[in-house]
């Protein structure tokens, strides 16, 4: 609803000495016509007082009924004696029940300011506005009960949030349970073939390719790393060269590759700790590494 605002400025002349402390009263009022029963009226009142003068809170109207047809809904005050600017915001509610359009008056305010024992009064003048009837004077009806607007049907409890919560938490629970089962190899993932060596063989092939002899150091190191990860995964822990014997006791199928394991770890040691790829590739040439990885993959498949 577009609200036309009427700016009403009332300067209080310096007639009485007590009023000289109030410099100006400005009221921003809403449109003065077209109000129905129940409408709100908002006023912004700005009072400029001399600095050091304080507003007496007791002189403010109290929220509640002002007259039998007018309620003060809200009242807020901003301002301080130091600034001398006081802003009041008042919201009234009109409850005048009218049969025709007529003029009503919101009563004025008398606000008291004080500085020490001295008092000054700011008069906000009354404000007139027009109220209009809400409905016709003599409505046609058969039964007086028909005059009333119907009841608001009591609502049911809104269950949309409950349903949404159940769906989201249910999906999350299912997802995390699936992830956990996958991670732990629970049903239905307990038959999932875990073939780290087959995977490693593919990776080693990708890193080494068909080069027979010497390959760049980083590719060789990556191939070694892939093998290390596969061996660690098979052992279930990080495996170093001194653990080979115990690993082969746990996985006897790989026993015949014991010598290749030793060569692999020796080559890896040289590549990673001595940074000597050339030496490492002499101990275990790339094609031998490839063959080693394939051999392990073959045993792995056979063991299952």
């Amino acid at each position: 609803m577009p609200v036309l605002r009427l700016l009403l400025v009332a300067f209080i002349l310096c007639g009485a000495t007590a009023k000289a402390q109030i410099l100006s009263i400005e009221r921003q009022a809403p449109r003065p016509f077209g109000y129905f029963l129940g409408d709100l009226l908002n006023f912004d009142i700005t009072i400029t007082a001399e600095k050091g003068w304080d507003l007496q809170r007791a002189s403010l109207p109290r929220p509640g009924p002002i007259t039998y047809w007018l309620d003060l809904r809200r009242l807020s005050v901003e301002g301080s004696p130091a600034s001398g600017k006081w802003r009041l915001h008042l919201t009234y509610q009109n409850f005048y029940d009218t049969l025709d359009t007529r003029q009503l008056t919101v009563p004025g305010l008398t606000l008291t300011f004080h500085s020490g024992a001295a008092l000054a009064q700011a008069q906000v003048p009354p404000w007139g506005f027009n109220v209009s009837p809400l409905r016709e004077v003599q409505p046609a009806f058969n039964d007086p009960q028909d005059l009333l607007r119907p009841d608001t049907p009591p609502p049911h409890i809104d269950q949309r949030n409950d349903r949404l919560g159940v769906i989201i938490s249910g999906v999350l629970a299912l997802l995390s349970l699936t992830g956990l089962a996958f991670e732990r190899g629970w049903w239905p993932f307990h038959h999932r073939p875990s073939r780290p060596f087959s995977q490693a063989a593919r990776l080693v092939h990708r890193h080494i390719g068909h080069d027979d002899n010497s390959i760049p150091g980083d590719r060789f190191r990556n191939a070694l790393l892939a093998m290390h990860r596969a061996i660690d995964m098979k052992a279930g822990r990080r495996l170093f060269s001194e653990d080979i014997a115990s690993f082969l006791v746990q996985h006897p199928a790989y026993k015949k590759e014991a010598e290749s394991f030793a060569r692999f770890f020796a080559s890896s040691h040289r590549a990673f700790f001595a940074s000597d790829e050339r030496g490492a590739q002499t101990i275990l040439p790339p094609d031998s590494l490839l063959a080693f990885s394939r051999q392990l993959a073959t045993i792995e498949r056979a063991a299952e």
Binding site: L37, G38, Y68, W69, L70, D162, L180
Partner: protein, 197 residues
């Protein structure tokens, strides 16, 4: 070291933490599932209570029932001519409920009072109608105080106010003269109450 390898290193570091994260997520989501599931079940039961009450069967309800249930029972009492009991339930809504519910309940209660007042007026028992109309007016005003845009409440307040006009009891300068003439009192009513001129 290429980025991919860094990512691989990071992933392998995270690997031991993954089951813990998943187990935590599972526990939290199961807790939430139980919470929302219980809410769904109990609200479902409450909604069935509301249906039963609205279909005209009385059920005793718990003191700490959901505001919607309180409202439904208050509505039952209103439609069964137990306005005082309904009032005590509506008062309960004043503490816990969201305002739209309270506004609607006060409005419905005021409607119930006004309907009862109409019955009294039709039977020419005006002295009994008057307090009901006044209570209804106060109820509409409270509703409108919470929600000024509640046009049905404005309309019915207008009906109630025309039944019994205000007398400006104090401060005659405020507002217009409003001397209610006897013949204006019943402008809304079908004919005049029997027995009156």
């Amino acid at each position: 070291m290429p980025v991919r390898d860094k990512a691989m290193t990071l992933l392998s570091f995270m690997r031991p933490a993954r089951p813990i994260l998943l187990a935590t997520l599972l526990a939290v989501s199961l807790g939430a599932l139980i919470f929302f599931g219980q809410a769904l079940i109990s609200h479902n039961a409450d909604n069935q209570l509301i249906d039963t009450l609205l279909s005209g069967h009385d059920i005793t309800i718990a003191d700490h029932a959901m505001p919607e249930v309180l409202f439904a029972r208050a509505q039952f009492l209103m439609t069964h001519n137990k306005l005082d009991e309904a009032q005590s339930l509506v008062d309960k809504l004043d503490h816990g409920a969201d305002t739209p519910l309270l506004t609607a309940a006060q409005y419905n209660l005021a409607n119930a009072r006004l309907r009862k007042a109409f019955d009294f007026i039709e039977n020419t028992r005006i002295d009994q109608a008057e307090p009901l109309v006044n209570l209804a007016r106060a109820g509409y005003r409270r509703s409108l105080g919470i929600d000024p845009e509640f046009w049905d409440a404005r309309y019915n307040l207008d009906v109630a106010m025309r039944l019994i006009r205000d007398f400006p009891g104090y401060e005659k300068t405020l507002g217009d003269e409003m001397v209610a003439k006897p013949k204006e009192l019943w402008t809304d009513l079908p004919g005049k109450p029997k027995g009156l001129p």
